[in-house]
Amino acid sequence: MRTLLSLSMTGLAVTPALAGELAVTVEIPKLEVAEYHRPYVAAWIETPDQQFVANLTVRYDVKMRDNEGTKWLKDMRQWWRRSGRDLTMPVDGVSAPTLPVGENRLSWDGAKAPLNGLKPGSYALVVEAAREVGGRELIRVPFDWNGKPVKAEAKGETELGRIAVEVKG
């Protein structure tokens, strides 16, 4: 864990921020099930060798009494292992309510945290979804962060639909 932490620190070392914007599309598929709950979704950035760099967003049931929604955060197993278990939720700018069915467009300003310290290089956007009484899915979309425009996407099969990354120069 210590290694992960220090690596994430170096990933976010003080370097000249690249201008631009990271736009992420997370499609939550419409599922024909008797009992539907919106999935918990975490999106983070990691290195090509799967070292955690930074959280983008963590979508869970933030409104439950006594912060009880945090009970199922561990079901996003990889996120929990790589970052979640080191955090005390809620985290400002990261914790947010669950996403509805459909394409959700989210974006982060390259001049602001957590992107302002992201060194130019190759990364992957990772989106992990876990649904109560449902399944779990994790999608990785590699992208380059070097000030040049990038478009990349992947498609989930069960709990996630289209996952797209767009770097706008």
Partner: protein
């Protein structure tokens, strides 16, 4: 009453541990979860002795001597203890962040001898041995046993305090954190006897769910000269690990050997 109960536990413990690998029955504790998040996590645990893993089909595991160690090293509590026909159950309230250890550890002496042509059996400790076993007992046979049965559970971030060995009997010293196990990954452990590396000991690992498959799926590895061994978990699930060794380090001179066993349950998560 208390000492009677303790003795009964010890009797069961020794009967099983001394019987050795030939005995098919397996002792286990099965936690409802080992990786937890949230504000107020609890786990509930089944404890039984059975052939198949993890099914209640033979006898409950007696909970006398059950010890919960909190992440800060203090003694915790096993709440709502109950023993039924086939299993015992209890709950642990994970009030602190970090890693808990839940263990059933015991050590004792078993003796048998002949008195007026009749076989006498006795179980107890080194202290009671001199008082209760006749010094001139005929055909005296004495065996010592130490058993440890345990599992770990973590609320939030895994911590290491409870992983420190006690230095008594056969124990596991995890290199890979026992609550950070994933299918397809290699986990490293060390086996210790009285706190020192236990070389050349066979460790057996069996995945749960035996009833619904034909192949036992047993993995056997031997510890190296430093007591170290690794396991690569083939699939996610609950795994049962056991190891047993014998030596001559007895506390009473009449015992010709000491057997020590270690058994633990591990949860392996999907990638």
């Amino acid at each position: 009453m208390k000492s009677l109960l303790t003795r009964a536990t010890l009797a069961l413990t020794l009967a099983i541990s001394i019987a050795g690998p030939a005995a098919a029955h397996r002792q286990w504790m099965l936690p409802s979860a080992t990786v937890l998040s949230g504000q107020d996590p609890w786990i509930t645990v089944d404890a039984a002795v059975s052939n198949d893993l993890f099914y209640f089909e033979h006898v409950p595991l007696r909970l006398d001597g059950l010890a919960v160690t909190n992440p800060d090293g203090s003694a915790g509590t096993a709440e709502n203890q109950a023993t039924g026909k086939y299993r015992s159950t209890f709950d642990v309230h994970l009030t602190q962040p970090g890693t808990y250890k839940v263990a059933l550890a015991s050590a004792g002496i078993m003796a048998s001898w002949e008195e007026n042509g009749q076989r006498k059996r006795w179980r107890g400790t080194a202290e009671t041995f001199a008082k209760e076993v006749p010094a001139n007992a005929e055909k005296l046979q004495v065996t010592e046993g130490a058993r440890r049965l345990e599992f770990f559970a973590t609320s939030g971030k895994p911590t290491d305090t409870v992983l420190k060995p006690t230095g008594k009997g056969l124990e596991l010293s995890p290199v890979t954190h026992p609550n950070d196990l994933f299918a397809g990954e290699k986990a490293s452990f060390k086996l210790l006897l009285d706190g020192k590396p236990a070389p050349e000991v066979e460790v057996t690992v069996i995945p749960g769910g035996i009833r619904y498959r034909n192949d036992l799926g047993e993995m056997k590895v031997k510890t190296d000269k430093d007591g170290a061994f690794t396991i690569t978990w083939p699939t996610p699930g609950m795994y049962w690990m056991t190891a047993q060794t014998e030596d001559k380090k007895t506390t009473v001179p009449q015992a010709n050997k000491r057997s020590a066993s270690y058994t633990a349950t591990f949860e392996v998560l999907a990638q």
